[in-house]
């Protein structure tokens, strides 16, 4: 028996039972479409989270004061005062895996320009901060080391702050704005970075010399954090270890004492968040996989009924010289044809649904080639697997028993 014959017979059987075949396919279509869509959504959000986190500086390392736990109570990090300018100097001197480093002291408050005001945060930093956070100045200049040395009242503002303080979008350079009533001269405007995945606006930011924020706004000498960038993403983890050792030594901590500071790398965060979204993807795909399984059982059901209904046909085919294997292949072809057709339609529907999700809900999606290959493979295997048993049953019949079947 030829492959072409098998195909023709299967096509004919399906044509004679269009509705039944379609209903069976529906299970497979829904299964495959949901696998593809879910994977696209999962992969898309993973990719977008990764992109945004690395946009913040994939090799960024943050040092914060305070231990993770103290007497079982998590301390408010900014309230500890264990991070100082000496730490910054020590790190600068000793750390080999660090390129740029900047202190950071933040203050929240009201920025005012004439009649416009805007609640925002001011970040006290050094010029290297730009490189660490991967920010760029679009207009004007960044604060320089002289500004830091003299605690100059100059600021570089982000796009959101700019738009809210300069409603007419006039040139802000050289203008004076007030932050918590203290006047600062705007010397630069940052390029836009947009929102993070978590909806945090990265443009709602004012940069000033850290000395100015310490003296004129907060009146402290401590640092709230130190941000640094590792030489590369690969050494980020090693850089964390290096910094930890340097700080433990300079803080003179014995082996038993806990760190009185916290260091984490952006890389770590990416890994954590990616693994969370990975888990979500697995969950989504598992649900979709179950619907594929249900679709497969549908195929088995229909094939089982089909074999029963056509027992006399099986008998006749055998009487005319059909071998068991011919009968087996005939029903198997039918099952595989149903599942493959369903699979192809499912892939099309899945791609369409992904497009809709991307357009209408504006979700990040990412269709991967492997998701299509996998769904297709699963479909075919489902067809063979669930078609096998009924087909085998038909093939094992005796010609005369099958012919007499009622």
């Amino acid at each position: 028996m030829r492959t072409l014959d098998l195909l023709l017979i299967a096509l004919k059987a399906l044509r004679l039972n269009k509705t039944k075949a379609f209903l069976t396919m529906l299970g497979i279509i829904i299964g495959v479409a949901s696998v593809i869509t879910m994977l696209a959504i999962g992969e898309g959000s993973k990719a977008s989270i990764k992109k945004q986190l690395s946009g913040m500086g994939a090799n960024m390392i943050t040092v914060r004061p305070g231990a993770g736990m103290r007497g079982g109570v998590r301390m408010d990090m900014s309230s500890s005062q264990t991070l100082t300018l000496e730490d910054l100097a020590t790190i600068k001197e000793k750390a080999k895996l660090i390129t740029n480093i900047s202190p950071q002291v933040d203050a929240n408050g009201q920025a005012i320009n004439g009649a416009n005001n805007w609640p925002t945060s001011i970040y006290g930093v050094t010029p290297e901060y730009l490189a660490v956070r991967m920010l760029t100045v679009k207009k004007g200049t960044m604060i320089n080391s002289t500004d830091v040395a003299i605690a100059g009242k100059v600021v570089v503002i982000g796009q959101t702050v700019y738009k809210n303080l300069f409603k007419n979008l006039e040139d802000p350079i050289g203008k004076t704005i007030r932050f918590n009533k203290i006047p600062f001269k705007v010397i630069g405007l940052l390029a836009s970075k947009g929102e993070t995945t978590f909806g945090q606006d990265q443009d709602d930011i004012i940069l000033a010399p850290y000395t100015a924020v310490q003296k004129r706004i907060l009146a402290t000498t401590y640092l709230q954090s130190i941000v640094a960038s590792a030489r590369s993403e690969e050494v980020a983890e090693n850089a964390v270890t290096e910094l930890t050792n340097i700080l433990r030594k300079s803080h003179k901590l014995s082996n038993k004492t806990e760190d009185d500071f916290n260091i984490f790398s952006q890389q770590e965060m990416i890994t954590t968040i990616s693994s969370t979204s990975e888990m979500l993807t697995v969950l989504l795909v598992a649900i979709a996989g179950i619907s594929l399984l249900v679709g497969g059982i549908g195929i088995m059901n229909i094939m089982y009924v089909s074999v029963k209904e056509r027992t006399r046909e099986v008998g006749l085919r055998m009487a005319l010289g059909g071998r068991g294997i011919d009968i087996l292949l005939q029903f198997l072809t039918e099952a595989v044809l149903i599942s493959i057709t369903g699979g192809v339609i499912g892939i099309a529907v899945g791609l369409g649904a992904t497009e809709i999700v991307a357009r209408v809900f504006n979700w990040p999606t990412c269709i991967t080639f492997y998701s299509i290959v996998i769904s297709f493979a699963v479909c075919t295997i489902t067809g063979i697997f669930f078609g096998w048993y009924p087909a085998r049953k038909a093939a094992d019949l005796d010609p005369i028993t099958a012919l007499r079947y009622e």
Partner: protein, 246 residues
């Protein structure tokens, strides 16, 4: 020495139905030589179909010997039996057994689908020829429910002939036909027989049996008579003698 195409010895077929056992064939022996034209007769329930199914390798005997072309059927695998059914035997069923919703042509082609020796392109031609030989050239694309009983029977006959088998087994092929068509079929069989085909033919009607060369009479699973037909009739001539159709 003549070669027997069929040789059976003490063939029995029991149907076990729960407690009861039906002895359909109770020990039958005979041989059919190449080129014979045999009628198997007997009352309803005497075991004619049971015997023919076994001869056609559709069913297996409970005990006894069955040799086809000197090969004991017992020793053949399922696949070898399928090959014999396809290439050597043309079987005409008592109840036509045509595929529903399938044209006459496709029904006849069915036998060729399982024959590797026939190329794909040749199938339609051969199937059409077979249908023509039973006078159905105008009904090739009709499905069984668009055909009369007799026409369906003739499609079944065409199907049994299409693979050019050496042995034709027919279970009441003329059972549903009028006298004229029956004679036509018998003329066809006689023609095939004269060309060397071996035919075993089940019928109720002695009028039909007289066209064959030998009659085996069954009763209650036994052979009660096995005699040659004296002066077999000529179906083609008998056909001419029939009164003209009005």
């Amino acid at each position: 020495m003549e070669k027997s195409i069929i040789h059976i010895e003490n063939l029995k077929r029991d149907f076990i139905m729960g407690e009861e056992t039906v002895h359909a064939l109770k020990g039958i022996s005979f041989s059919i030589q190449k080129g014979e034209f045999v009628t198997i007769m007997g009352t309803s329930g005497s075991g004619k179909s049971t015997l023919l199914n076994i001869l056609g390798c559709l069913d297996r005997a409970s005990s006894g010997l069955y040799e086809i072309d000197q090969v004991p059927v017992k020793n053949l695998s399922r696949n070898e039996l399928a090959k014999i059914r396809n290439e050597k035997i043309g079987f005409i069923f008592q109840s036509y057994n045509l595929l529903p919703r399938t044209t006459a042509l496709e029904n006849v082609e069915l036998s060729l689908v399982y024959n590797k020796a026939v190329p794909f392109r040749e199938r339609k031609i051969r199937a059409a020829e077979a249908l023509k030989s039973v006078g159905l050239e105008t009904r090739m694309h009709h499905t069984p429910n668009q055909l009369s009983g007799g026409q369906q029977q003739r499609v079944a006959i065409a199907r049994s002939l299409v693979n050019d088998p050496v042995l034709i087994l027919s279970d009441e092929a003329t059972g549903n036909l009028d006298t004229r068509t029956s004679y036509e079929i018998m003329a066809l069989f006689q023609d095939l027989n004269s060309k060397g085909k071996t035919i075993a033919f089940v019928t109720h009607e002695p009028d039909i049996a007289r066209f064959s060369k030998r009659t085996i009479l069954l009763k209650d699973g036994h052979i009660i008579r096995d005699t040659p037909v004296e002066n077999p009739g000529n179906a083609a001539q008998a056909l001419k003698l029939l009164p003209k159709e009005e």
